[in-house]
Every structure is written in C-alpha cells, then in structure tokens.
C-alpha cells in the first residue's frame, strides 16, 4: 500500500489532520461549537468552489472563506439572541454561493464531489507540506493561548470572574477552528470534516477527566479513524470518508452506551 506515493501522502496528511482536528475538537465540544464547526464546513465548500472559479488551489479559498466566516459567525452567535437561526442563515447563503461558484467555473461534478467528500489522491507532495505547516501553526497557536483557552472553554464564567480576556481568546480560537476545517477538508471533504472536529472529542469527554487526557483520547480516536479509513478505502476501493464516518460514529456509540450502562448499574 505504501508503495504508492499518493497513499504515503494521504497517510502523512491525515496523521496531521487527525492530530490538529482531535486537539482543536476538544475545545469545539467544550465551547458548544459543534454546530458552528458544521457551518464552517459548508462555508469551506463555498470557499473551495470560489477558488476553483478563480483558478487557485481550493485550500486557499477555503482558508479565506472559513476565516471570514468563523469571525462573522462567531460575532453573530456571541451577540445575537437568535444564535442558531443566524448560523443557519449564513450556512444557507454560503452553500448557495458554493453551488453558484461551481456552476460558473464550469467545473465538472467530479470536482464538486472531491471538494464535498474529499479525495485521497487529491493531495500531492506540495499539498502535504502545506497541510503540515498549517497544522503546526494551529497547534502552536493553541499551545500559546492554552492557559486562558482552557479556563474560558471549560469555565467561561470563572474565567470572566478572573479577568481573562475571553473576547480575544474567542477570536484566536475561531481562527484556529477555521484553519482546522480547511486542513481537515483536504482528505475527508468539506461536508464531513466536522466529524473529526466533533466525534473524537465527544467520545473523549466520556473517557478523560483532565484536558491533556481528553486531548490524548481525542487525537487517538481521530488517528484510528483516518488510518483505518484509509486502509479500508485502499483495500475495498470504497470512499475513505465513508469509513472514517462509520468508524468515528461506531467508537462514539460504543463509548456512549458503555457510559450509560455503567451509570445505570
């Protein structure tokens, strides 16, 4: 399997994607941003379509749109009484824009499928390096604000009472989230990147009792998902994203029901 260059690229890229999404996801779940992560995926789709129309790499269009989208959605959801409705409205607008950009760029439906559902042969050597650099930037950003980010994400009121600058932390976190969505979408696709940002950390919530242990569990489950997904995709010739989704959902459900049964006994 590793004799093929594209498989080596895919494994390397997905390893960094899993580490980044698994780490950032812990904060996505703690801050109740799962719906926002989903919306950013759709915004990412529009960004990728925009890039195709411009004739630049989809990653850059995604980064541009998700960064703009995360800040505006973040502001809206912080200040609007109708958080869910405003996110829905933005999501609808961007999905529409995505369809429009694809149509006017004249890209074929195969290209749209790749953006939406990901493609393991779509990441070349240069793409892998870009993904690794972006992943390292995201992880460094998270690490550099870890103390106030941990406090604000896991005890927002306590952080406010301690004078933590929660507004600034929120903006920096939204930037890392937008970058994670753009990075993750390269392999699993924009439609399903939120899987890696929500399911492994949601599973980790049941297993870890400290933030480092939750991050470790979350990254572990994200890695299992992408590695096993790539392997199964390779031997069956079925979509990798399908396997990643099924694996993550299965791990989540097993952990969830084990938790329920344990607490009922």
């Amino acid at each position: 399997m590793f004799a093929y260059g594209f498989m080596r690229n895919a494994f390397l890229a997905s390893t960094f994607i899993a580490i980044t999404c698994g780490t950032v996801g812990v904060y996505v779940v703690a801050r109740n941003f799962s719906f926002l992560a989903h919306t950013l995926s759709e915004i990412g789709f529009a960004g990728a379509a925009f890039a195709v129309w411009l004739g630049i790499g989809p990653l850059w269009g995604m980064l541009l749109f998700t960064l703009l989208g995360s800040i505006s959605v973040g502001e809206l959801s912080l200040h609007s009484e109708q958080k869910e409705s405003s996110i829905s409205a933005i999501s609808a607008l961007f999905t529409g824009l995505g369809v429009l950009f694809l149509a006017i760029s004249g890209a074929n439906s195969n290209y749209a499928t790749n953006i939406l559902f990901g493609s393991i042969i779509g990441v070349d050597h240069q793409g892998v390096i870009q993904l690794i650099v972006l992943s390292v930037i995201v992880l460094l950003m998270i690490f550099s604000i870890q103390r106030p980010l941990n406090f604000d994400s896991f005890d927002h009121i306590g952080a406010l009472a301690h004078g933590v600058k929660t507004g600034a932390i929120s903006v920096i976190f939204l930037i890392t989230l937008a970058m994670s969505v753009s990075i993750g979408a390269q392999i699993v696709g924009s439609l399903l990147v939120f899987i890696l940002l929500t399911l492994p950390p949601a599973t980790a919530n049941y297993l870890g009792k400290t933030i480092p242990s939750m991050i470790a569990w979350s990254v572990f489950f994200a890695l299992i998902g992408v590695w096993l997904g790539l392997y199964l995709g390779y031997i069956t010739n079925l979509p990798v994203t399908f396997f990643i989704a099924v694996i993550e959902v299965a791990i989540y459900l097993v952990t969830y029901f084990t938790h329920i049964i344990k607490h009922k006994l």
């Binding site: 941990n150 406090f151 009792k209 400290t210 933030i211 939750m214």
Partner: protein
C-alpha cells in the same frame, strides 16, 4: 484595624432606572460581612462594580493597596455531562503543564476545602455542595486575602450550607481572609457572619449582624 475596601457615594443607574444611590461603607481587613437584601435590589450589580466588570454611574470605591481579590460568581455552566475532575477544574487557572509548586498549591486548596479524597470525581457528578467548594478552591488558588461569594449557598441543602459556611468561617479565622458574602438568607447570616450590609430601596445600612432585625419588605 485598617480598611480593605472603602466605597464613597457610589451610584448605579441603567437608563432612567436607579439601582442604588449614594452608597457609603467600609470593610475592615479580616472582617466577615454578609451583603443582605431581597432579590433584585442590586447586590450582584454592586459586586460586579467592585469586581471591575461594570462601571458605576457615580461615586468611587478603593481597595487597600495590598488586596488580592478572589471572587466566586453566582452561576456556573457545569451540567451533569461536564467532564473535568474536581482537581482539573480547580487547576483551570494554571498552565496545562503544571510545576510541582502549582501541583502543591492545588493539593493544599483541595485539602483545605475537604475535596482531596474526591479529587478524581467528575465535576458533573459532584453534589451541589462539592461544586461550591470546588468553585471556592479555584478562587483560593490565587491566594486571595479577600473573597467575595455571590449567593454561594442559594441552591444547597441545609447540611451542605452549614458545611460551606463553616469552611468560610475557618478560612477567615485561620488565614485572616476578609469575606464579603452575598445572600438573602438572613438566618444563615445570623449564624455565621459578624457584620452586615443591607441593601434595599437603593440605600445601604451597615452594622453588626447581631443588631440586624429588619425584615425584608
């Protein structure tokens, strides 16, 4: 004894609605004071001003230069699914990689608040009283010499209330921590507090708790 807080002519208005006017009082270092008053009289507003989270419409307040303020807010977002252990929660305001000094400080506060034995219990699964003690332990990690507790006993059963109040009294007696305890529970204040501040109808009264007889109107 010297004062740790002096409030002068403090007033707060939201639009045309006056919450309080011309508040004047002082708190002595090491004192144990209940801030009493019916719901909706502006107790939390006053605390938010003292904590610098709101700007007063008029007047001023001054803490002693050596004050180290700890604050335990009224509400927290800790639901039944909240994952962190009591120990991890108490240490949230510390770097993720903790030095031995920080670890020792967390252990000390867990012992002080009688949480050390259950430090690995998830906060989501802790009782109301255990949660309140964890909030207190988190605030104590900064080594404050004055602590403000906003309605810390409001949702607790009588036993948990007594346990928390005894702990607060102990902190005051042992570490000389000045306590400002916001509550509308007069009998609890009678039992554990030395002094009172009574906020009602936009005015404040100050005196010894044993002298406090006024019923809420």
């Amino acid at each position: 004894m010297s004062d740790i807080l002096e409030v002068t002519n403090l007033a707060m208005r939201f639009d045309k609605n006056t919450i309080f006017n011309n508040l004047n009082f002082k708190l002595e270092k090491g004192s144990l004071t209940a801030l009493l008053g019916p719901n909706g009289t502006g107790k939390t507003t006053l605390i938010n001003i003292l904590m610098g989270m709101l700007t007063p419409s008029a007047g001023e307040f001054k803490f002693a230069d050596d004050v180290r303020l700890g604050y335990v807010p009224q509400f927290r977002n800790i639901d039944a699914e909240y994952p962190l252990s009591i120990e991890a929660f108490v240490g949230l305001n510390a770097p993720i990689i903790k030095s031995s000094t920080v670890k020792k400080a967390i252990k000390k506060q867990l012992e002080e608040t009688n949480l050390y034995q259950i430090k690995n219990t998830r906060m989501g699964e802790a009782s109301g009283g255990q949660k309140q003690r964890a909030y207190l332990a988190q605030a104590l990690l900064d080594n404050p010499n004055m602590i403000i507790l906003d309605e810390a006993t409001a949702s607790l059963d009588p036993m948990a209330k007594d346990e928390l109040m005894k702990l607060i009294k102990h902190l005051n007696a042992k570490h000389k921590i000045t306590v400002l305890f916001v509550t509308h529970d007069v009998s609890l204040a009678h039992k554990y507090m030395q002094n009172y501040l009574y906020l009602n109808h936009g005015q404040i009264e100050h005196g010894e708790m044993s002298q406090f007889k006024e019923a809420y109107e």
